[in-house]
Symmetry: C2
Subunit: 426 residues, 2 copies
């Protein structure tokens, strides 16, 4: 079992190049499944840090266009998959950092530049510390996490067939905007909600704004109904809906011929998504009658759906113990609360087809990684009054990446190594 000092020393050896990778990816954000440049930068970093394909790891892919996996074989033992996602958001980078986004309207607002850098760093760490573990470790670099179904696509494209094994456990890291760099967060059970994303398209003939009815009114009526959907379920079932955006015209005096509403619903009770779809169908029928437009003026299209993240309790217990021994102070390992945001990582673990023909879930664990400025927090890890901690999915989000990556390698990477020797019975 490597000590904190060993891990810190290893991190010192590689951190310069990893920080560089972080800044490179941050400056060149890619969207959706098209993370080719990011993938190249990761592979170049592996090479720069002395890892040779074929000799030190085996490369698999591409999956979902630009995704790939590298697998480290290290004798008999557990088979664990650690995943990092790569894609950025359609957002203006407002950080003002020297290595800010060089591509207008794209920004790593969800920390995937850190996830992929950390995944790279931990692959190198595991390679360098082979003497501490036995087994097979896959590092999965995934594109299209942000509403593009990247995880589901990778599985559908035969990820596990091509790897030649189904992992015993899956781990991944996600930045956390509610904690300072230097901390990690864990929980067992319900962690992130399941979600579905739909486009509802409403079309009409349009016309002069001074003469004809606008489908804006229909869209607004639908939105009013949609936003009330949570009231149709028990509050115990935690249903959250949102309409993140609207594609429409912005022309003066001409009614839109097409409006697309970007719908989403989140819940830990997946059958509720089916009930929501049933209700949406009723809303469409009813609104067609009320507004006297053909029912086929409405088109509902599902963009992506993902399962809730139910963190494996045994993995959580083990990882908590491992990480607590690797951080400076035990209280740097925090317990997080369940949230209604979603992750597509559970799709790597959900109802996977095993060689015996059965479909089973793979135990999965998310490790939250604090990324905010430690000076903004008090001793109890509460944000100080007046202190700023920019939120994810905003243009100002800017992880304190050096400290966060150190913790990500020492605590999470170290914990990952220990997971190979984990004897906890589930």
């Amino acid at each position: 079992m490597p000590s904190r000092q060993v891990l810190l020393d290893e991190f010192q050896q590689i951190s310069g190049r990893i920080f560089e990778l972080y800044r490179e990816i941050n400056a060149h954000p890619e969207l959706g499944l098209e993370c080719h440049d990011t993938a190249k930068r990761i592979k170049a970093t592996l090479k720069d840090l002395g890892m040779q394909e074929g000799r030190d790891y085996k490369l698999f892919g591409p999956f979902a266009q630009s995704g790939f996996a590298i697998v480290l074989y290290n004798g008999d033992g557990p088979r664990i998959l650690y995943r990092g996602d790569m894609d950025a958001l359609i957002l203006q980078d407002l950080t003002g950092l020297p290595f800010h986004s060089t591509i207008e309207g794209r920004h790593h607002g969800c920390g995937h530049q850190l996830h992929s850098s950390l995944c790279t760093a931990n692959a190198v760490l595991m390679h360098r510390l082979r003497k501490y573990w036995k087994g097979t470790c896959a590092f999965l670099f995934q594109p299209g996490e942000e509403g593009h179904g990247g995880a589901e696509k990778m599985v559908a494209e035969g990820l596990y067939d091509k790897l030649g094994f189904i992992p015993d456990k899956i781990l991944f890291t996600h930045v956390f905007d509610q904690l300072p760099a230097g901390t990690v967060g864990l929980r067992a059970g319900e962690t992130m909600a399941g979600a579905a994303f739909w486009n509802l398209t409403i079309t009409s003939e349009g016309g002069h704004a001074g003469r004809m009815a606008s489908i804006n009114e229909v869209a607004n009526a639908f939105e009013d109904l949609f936003y009330k959907l949570p009231t149709k379920f028990s509050p115990f079932d935690e249903v959250l809906v949102n309409i993140s955006g609207r594609e429409t015209s912005s022309v003066i005096n001409v009614n839109p011929t097409k409006i697309v509403l970007k719908l989403s619903a989140r819940t830990y009770q997946m059958p509720h998504l089916r009930e929501i779809e049933r209700k949406i169908a009723n809303y469409i029928k009813g609104l067609a009658i009320i507004y006297e437009i053909p029912e086929d003026s409405f088109k509902l299209e599902k963009i992506v759906e993902c399962q809730p993240l139910i963190s494996d309790a045994a993995m959580e217990q083990s990882m908590r113990r491992f990480m607590t021994s690797l951080v400076e102070r035990p209280e740097q390992v925090r317990t997080i609360v369940p949230i209604m945001s979603s992750e597509d990582a559970p799709m790597l673990a959900y109802q996977i087809l095993f060689p015996d023909g059965s479909r089973r879930n793979i135990p999965i664990l998310m490790i939250r990684l604090g990324v905010q400025d430690p000076d903004a927090y008090d001793a109890d890890f509460k944000l100080k009054p007046g202190a700023k901690a920019p939120l994810v999915h905003t243009g100002h989000f800017a992880p304190k990446y050096e400290k966060a990556l150190e913790t990500g390698v020492v605590a999470i990477g170290g914990g990952l190594i220990e997971m190979f020797g984990d004897k906890v019975t589930r």
Copy 2:
């Protein structure tokens, strides 16, 4: 033609008893078609002022429960009907007057106590000034103007058959809360809108407020749609809708089993009321689907409908000339603007069945009577800044009845006499 002085002298003779009648009716407001007590007080006043049934007038009725007409025969000539309504409103009397309403929750908030007192006064005036006119004059005392279809019911019950004639002209007076006592108001053409009143009843099984959906949400959704109806018509067509009230439960923690929405729509284009009913039917169909309740949970019932008041242009021209010669200053005869409130008086004149089998409209004219405190208005009849003029259909509405009745007798009563000699060709 009686001079202003003659009319003033006559008014002096009768005003004491008329003011008393006004205060009596004001203190004992009756609702809907049940204006029996008011009718008795009017008949007693006629008697007190020397008019004997049979000798001086013939009594017809009852019509619409408590309505009646008295007819003064005075030789050959025009046959004119002058109408006063009698019913009060469900309103708290907040006037604080010595002769305030003695019946809790009832108030003459629409001036019908003044209309019926004035109708009584003008009947007496016409009797006393028989030498100035020739013809037949009917004074119609009508109950149930406030949403009870009194006018329509009187016609349906054979008013004109029983009178034995269809009037050549119909006049009526309505108080006006936008002008001071001492003024009258007139206009030709569109004057008051047509209207329909409906009850929309929504029923459900109710249930515990912590468990089941409430039909309040359905009612609110209907109201939102209903209030947007005017946007479905050209603004040139002046469509106004309102929901004046809601019958529902006020019990804590129990969802209502029944909600009644008091709908109304007003327009000068009566076919639009049919279009509104068609749309309401669609709203019901659509909402039944959206809220997953049976379509027969909704019941739409029309309470009353009345035609718009299109004031006869020739009558308006004549009456303006007559009244202008009878007021102190010509500018006391004002020109009013069309409004969206309704009157059921047009139902006395609309598509009446004539002996030749045809249906025709009778020329009709409303004369507005200012009732507010003259001191509250400037020389241009504009309300002075900060001055108060309580509106109709409020608990504070309190006509300056002495001055208003004087003007109502001298200008309107005098004008009515002159109308019998009117030679204006229509």
